[in-house]
């Protein structure tokens, strides 16, 4: 930590948040809000005199509420930067200077109430997202009485209670009466591995956290009786099984089975629980002085902002999705952005460090090059066909297109800003803008080829490369089965699907067509799939006007992680396909041909 503070090539900005990101790989423009600290960081010596006179006492975040802090405080003794900070929301002088005690006390005169937030603009070539996670809040699982019983604590609270730098100086006491607990129970998987309560996934760290803490307690208080209630012990890492065995040798008792609820004896503060020991096949009753809930990890509640700013996507568990689970595990789907630590999935310190070094190496590949190549698949304008209507400008999620109706200036694409979603090409009614390598003619040829034989048995699926096409791949990797009548056409974004593609499919005899893309908030191209929605609405009304059942055109959102959903949607689509009769297909063909003739006339 210290190395970060003094490294000549690291500019550390604490109390800071990324407000805006624009640009692209190699050339991101970033706006960072540096919030006012009200203490001049460079001058503060962290002597702590200011805090001794501060009359305010507030919840101490670092000590997870087991201690208080003042309005002017240092988060913890080894903080980097080593400087005090004023939480202005807590300070008595937040509106008018009414207290001023800290200012009077500070000999270095480094407290400044006039300090204001500052916006810093940066230019960077790559971004590493290491925003971490939230620790599961067990208030929601009230059967363990976390909010009702003082001697039920979380594993994070226990960390502070056994830490020499913690509120008790490392002397383990229970919060209810500050007595040393003699009988401690750990309940595993709190907030993890449950489809009903908390999160369905394994939080990865909690088994080892409990094993580690059981050993630390045994080391200092060998007489303590420790019982761990678990479903499975997952001690899979290097050296982990050794620690598990050691803890058993030290006398920690492991009981396979989770208690349903906990009761408190109000006279002693002791806790009683009943558990089915599934190994022994019997019901056990336990009386304990203190219970530790081994809480899991979950995605940050405030993670959406960064996710949207960098156009990242999340897996169904809320953590950020990587580009490929095996081959690009630290690359984010946005080029030039990399993931490190728990923001990607719950992991321990060693794995976080490993992944962070991997992300640094991957970012280094970009930063060490003078120039990088951009994908050629971007929008290009045929200026002769452009009618200056500005529709392409409106649908471009990256503001990469300029045009002027008023001044009759044809559309122009700033190539480096174009990400290649193709929404503009789908929107242009005059064929003036197309997406290189994903041209209309190529799609029309694919549709024609897909329906060349037995069109009545064929369902056409347009799938977005980043989500639904990836979900289709995952369906395969997972060996899930679906009817073989589906023909998938890959688009980079669902917004690339031109209305004429869909009409062409119906004209050529397709019984059903599905357009699929990323969930609305998770579009790989910012919010390009909002254009998909508008086009689908237009298509549905057009089909209705032509007497074609609108339900023959379907829209589905799925993420890259939803292989099961993909298989289910395909089965449903095929079911729908089987209900479209040859007569209906023929009627559709005639209706569309008549409409075409009318247009020509």
């Amino acid at each position: 930590m210290k190395d970060v503070g003094r490294h000549p090539r690291i500019k550390l900005m604490t109390l800071s948040e990324v407000e805006d990101v624009s640009g692209y790989v190699g050339n991101f423009n970033v706006k960072v809000r540096r919030k006012a600290r009200y203490v001049r960081e460079a001058d503060c010596t962290a002597c702590g005199e200011c805090a001794t006179v501060c009359p305010v006492n507030k919840y101490n975040e670092y000590e997870v509420g087991l201690a208080t802090r003042n309005a002017i405080y240092i988060p913890f003794p080894q903080s980097i930067p080593s400087s005090y900070v004023i939480n202005m929301a807590d300070c008595l002088s937040k509106d008018v200077i009414t207290c001023n005690k800290c200012v009077e006390k500070c000999q270095k005169r480094c407290i400044d109430f006039d300090m204001r937030d500052e916006i810093v603009e940066l230019k960077v070539g790559a971004v590493v997202v290491a925003t971490g996670m939230d620790v599961y809040d067990p208030t929601r699982l009230d059967e363990y009485g976390y909010t009702r019983f003082q001697n039920v604590v979380t594993s994070l609270e226990l960390e502070r209670l056994i830490n020499a730098g913690g509120p008790t100086g490392g002397h383990l006491v229970r919060p209810g009466d500050t007595k040393a607990p003699k009988r401690i129970g750990f309940i595993q998987c709190v907030g993890s591995r449950s489809h009903n309560r908390g999160n369905p996934y394994c939080s990865n760290i909690c088994c080892m956290v409990t094993i580690k803490n059981s050993l630390l307690i045994k080391e200092h208080y060998p007489d303590t009786e420790i019982t761990v209630f678990y479903i499975d012990i997952r001690a899979f890492g290097k050296g982990f099984e050794d620690l598990y065995e050691r803890s058993k040798r030290e006398g920690v008792r492991y009981v396979r089975g989770l208690p349903e609820h906990i009761e408190e004896d109000p006279s002693t503060g002791s806790l009683r629980l009943k558990v089915e020991n599934t190994t022994a096949g019997c019901i056990e009753e336990h009386e304990l002085d203190m219970v530790v809930l081994a809480v899991g990890l979950e995605a940050r509640k405030d993670g959406d902002k960064i996710r949207h700013l960098l156009s990242l996507s999340q897996t169904s568990d809320g953590f950020l999705a990587e580009s490929h689970p095996k081959l690009m595990p630290v690359d984010a789907p946005t080029r030039g952005v990399f993931l490190a630590g728990c923001v990607e999935s719950p992991k321990d310190i060693k794995d976080s460090v490993t992944q962070a070094s991997a992300a640094a190496a991957r970012a280094g590949v970009i930063l060490s090059s003078d120039k990088i190549k951009l994908d050629a698949a971007i929008a290009v304008v045929d200026k002769e066909k452009c009618t200056f209507c500005e529709l392409c400008v409106q649908v471009c999620p990256y503001s990469a297109i300029s045009a002027s109706k008023q001044n009759k200036i044809a559309a122009h694409v700033t190539e480096a800003m174009c990400a290649g979603c193709g929404s503009c090409a789908a929107e242009c009614a005059f064929g003036a803008i197309s997406l290189r390598h994903f041209e209309d003619a190529q799609y029309m040829a694919q549709i024609e080829a897909a329906l060349a034989e037995n069109p009545q048995d064929t369902a056409i699926v347009f799938a977005c490369n980043w989500c639904s096409y990836a979900a289709a791949d995952l369906t395969g990797t997972s060996r899930l089965q679906y009817p073989p009548n589906i023909r998938i056409i890959r688009t980079m974004c669902s917004a690339r699907v031109n209305e004429k593609f869909v009409m062409q499919a119906f004209k050529l005899g397709a019984p059903v067509v599905l357009v699929s893309g990323c969930h609305l908030a998770d579009c790989h191209y910012m919010a390009a799939n909002r254009s998909t929605v508008k086009r689908m609405d237009r298509l549905w009304s057009r089909l209705e006007r032509l007497g074609i059942r609108p339900e023959r055109l379907q829209l589905e959102w799925m993420s890259a992680a939803e292989g099961q959903k993909f298989a289910r949607v395909m089965a449903e689509l095929d079911e729908r396909r089987s209900k479209v009769t040859p007569e209906e297909i023929e009627q559709t063909r005639k209706a569309l041909e008549a409409a075409d003739k009318k247009k020509v006339a």
Binding site: V4, G5, L12, T14, I80, G132, A360
Partner: protein, 197 residues
Amino acid sequence: MADEIRIGVFVCECGLNIAGFLDCGEVRRYAEGLENVVVSTVNRYTCADPGQQEIKKKIRELNLNRVVVASCSPRLHEPTFRTCVAEEGLNPYLVDMANIREQCSWVHSTDRKAATEKAKDIVRIAVARARLLKPQKENEIPVTDAVLVIGGGIAGIQASLDLANAEHMVYLVEKQPSIGGVMAQLDKTFPTMDCSI
């Protein structure tokens, strides 16, 4: 001069991942009958060196100007085959992939006939697209040699130090008043049982 379109279709068995569930030979024969397809071959592993050598050899011998690889997802191996054809002097954008593994053999593994028919269709669709592919040029852009690291927990700290030690400028942005994250709240840590800070 309007060049004649000459397509090579390379059908991959992927060991038994594809060949185990559909008839690759039949797919190859079907491909060879498609318009503009000059040659079609079956390979055990097209992505492996012998498979790639075969593609290069056929480009050279038969003057191929489009390549269709019927194998796995383009999300997996499109870059592999783009590099492969580029090494033989063909523009990398003149390759298309027919995804007959993730989206065919693996999802229709109980119906060999239907899977084979679908694979033929997928190849036909890819060939139709390949006919219309055009060579593309990738633009080059300059890179700013600086990096933004968001988050100053253990992961952000490690990434920042590695990048700064590799001579890159690092901007480390942390929401809290100190770096350290959750790690700084922990007592001893496993597996070494030493201090977290």
